[in-house]
Symmetry: C2
Subunit: 428 residues, 2 copies
């Protein structure tokens, strides 16, 4: 009889070992690719000062922060909370340690963050984010924006997903475009309409724009703008058509061209410029990107990020421009499972299970296990005193092969591994 | 100018990237060995229900628990807290998922736990624990105790530490011994004296025993007992000398013999039985062990654990006996660094840094980077527009080799990697 509710708290992911192995493999794949691109790992504390967190958080995020206090003494701990993303702790880290870092500082954080969101299926309160960021001192060439995107795209390639599409935009283009229409004051409201345009009908979007008191011509131009996408030449031509003089967006376009060209040079053939990409958060200042699955747009973006020129401006007067992106692995894992897209090989966590018949065969079993482990195999030795049938039953749940060791095997020195599905035997 | 205190909170570990790489390597080593021994990874939420945590915590631990609440709504979150170890969440996990697990369930958790301890140098409030546990259903043969200890010892071997010593005891021996002296009522107080005996003089220990109102004979016997250590035969002989009739400790001795014999069969030559080992926490029921560095006893134990017959008795009537051990990696890393014992190769985090002279060489640089990455190398491409000298300066901080790519290299197709310390060049 259970005495307690033993389910995990709502909004927390808890996996069975076989699922966990797949999750960990995906996490490892991301980490490997980030490292191969030269990103260095850091790990910041999960508990941070609230003034650090609140300096950057705003609106909804602020309400979702988990405050932390000790049971015994609350005086010195009332100002502590759980981090809600990796970017704020990164800003603090860069300011704190900048004299010991080599800039541009290419850094990855793959760890859990915490947000007390409304409980909802597929939304998590504790979740892994796999961030890759490049932080410069004083300045950071735009080429790095392409590097971050290429790296994250390569990481996702290891997932064996259906065709991905990288959608890139640039906040400076939007800003220049709205300025040319005399709409700079309404940038944030219009961004919001564009940000949601994909989830509603075009009529709804134009209606929302009209509500912002745009003239018919402005509505038409903004609508034409937000549906603009394609390769660089196509997008530039389209902007000329809409704007006539494109000099107000020249700086943003030049950045977009650099990013797009580098991604193409790197052999990324599934990249488009797409002005519907906004990225809700307001700290992006230039490049913004999202990666989607072309045939599963309903999933939403599987990665996103962009350029933030003022990473640490809340903490210091020094300038640390950065560009970064993130894969929300907990949510992504959940969704891929829902859509049956977890195409990663879910191999059994153990390679061989050794089943000594009795304690007399322990020594030989340990010896064989050590030999197999030295060859990189994952080996379990079953030391239980249960019946062989029960042992086989357990073995089949976590391994493809069992090796029975009895007196005969010890005398002959011949060990055979039995495939627990087919019954075939092989040399281990 | 800094606007905020950007140091991490007191009691939190925050490392520079090169230190982090060493820490991560140690963590990976432990994880690899645990996996090779057939332990499966799980990850439980960091935030748990307080009733789950308080069901097991007691005394000091309870006072150190971090409570969690949301800023906005505190109603539904007042009953949440951060876990303080892996064992309590494991008990909950086993009860919750037991129908989906293969028993004996060999499980590892390598993750952070949280305790609001008094701030003190070398004591951490957020810390990694690397646990390996084996949980049975109804019963779990004693041989598994040896397996856990051997596995953790093998994991620590990868650290290249000075000579380790495994010290094993068994709570049943202590219980039987005290019962034979009519001292069962004072087990907890006497355990406490033994647990601290190593940190004080023998006089202090005997004085503490006298304070518990033991007779002179009892004091002498308990003192002789707690200084008993050696291989199985030596310990058995010594017990006979102290006790005369050793039947009250027969069950515990038999378990000790099994564990000791298996460890010896597995080739572990640095293992002793040592009745001074208690392990403070009271949930152990049989085997207890600690691993120390023979020539650095002052460091204290670098791993410890034992058998707990009633893992989940707070949560269910079902019986789940277990045995486990843990490496407190955050503290161990700190101490090894203090004692200059971090003998793990601190290799540069990046294998090659490619330095294109200008944007004209980006394409060739990306191509070379991809080729090197496919061969498993960690490669960074420096896209900054700084002077070559500055680029070399950054490169030397994170890599041993730089590959300059200019027009000449592209024409010749010959790339050379320059050793940033010696100036020698090699083929990358």
């Amino acid at each position: 009889m259970k005495k307690f509710n033993t389910s995990p708290l709502s909004g927390m992911q808890e996996l069975l070992p076989t699922e966990q192995a797949v999750f960990d493999q995906l996490k490892q794949n991301i980490s490997d690719v980030y490292h191969h691109y030269g990103f260095l790992s850091i790990e910041t504390p999960i508990i941070e000062r609230t003034d650090i967190l609140f300096a950057k958080a705003g609106g909804d995020t602020e309400k979702q922060i988990y405050m932390v206090s000790k049971t015994a003494e609350s005086a010195d701990s009332a100002d502590q909370a759980l981090r809600f993303d990796h970017t704020v702790p990164l800003a603090r880290y860069v300011v704190e340690h900048n004299n010991d870092l080599a800039f541009p500082f290419q850094v990855t954080q793959i760890n859990r963050n915490f947000r007390g969101e409304r409980a909802q299926r597929g939304r998590f309160r504790e979740f892994y984010q796999c961030d890759a960021d490049i932080v410069g001192r004083e300045k950071l060439p735009i080429a790095y924006d392409a590097k971050v995107i290429a790296c994250i795209h390569d990481a996702l390639k290891t997932f064996n997903l259906p065709k991905m599409l990288i959608r890139i935009s640039n906040r400076k283009v939007l800003a220049g475009f709205l300025e040319s229409l005399g709409l700079s004051q309404k940038t944030s409201d219009i961004s919001n309409v564009i940000d949601h345009a994909e989830k509603v009908s075009t009529d709804k979007s134009t209606e929302a724009l009209r509500k912002l008191k745009l003239t018919d011509e402005q509505v038409n131009k903004v609508t034409a703008f937000m549906f603009t996408h394609g390769n660089y030449e196509e997008v530039e031509a389209k902007l000329k058509e809409i704007m006539g003089d494109i000099s107000p967006v020249a700086e943003g376009l030049a950045e977009l061209k650099t990013v797009f060209d580098i991604l193409t040079q790197k052999g990324t053939d599934n990249c488009i410029i797409d002005f519907m990409i906004i990225r809700g958060l307001d700290y992006y200042t230039g490049t913004v990107y999202e990666i989607v699955l072309e045939d599963y747009r309903e999933i939403g973006s599987i990665s996103g990020g962009g350029r933030y020129e003022n990473l640490a401006s809340n903490f210091t007067d020094q300038k640390f421009p950065g560009v970064g992106g993130s894969i929300g692995l907990t949510r992504l894992f959940f969704i891929l499972r829902e859509f049956n897209l977890l195409n990663i090989e879910a191999k059994q966590p153990i390679d061989y299970i050794i089943l000594p018949i009795s304690a007399n065969e322990y020594e030989a079993s340990f010896e064989l296990a050590n030999q197999l482990r030295e060859r990189g195999k994952l080996v379990d030795v079953d030391l239980s005193d249960r019946k062989l049938g029960d042992k086989f039953n357990r073995a089949s749940k976590i391994s493809d092969y069992a090796i029975v060791i009895g007196n005969d095997e010890i005398i002959s020195g011949q060990y055979k591994a039995k495939n627990l599905k087919t019954g075939d035997t092989i040399d281990p």
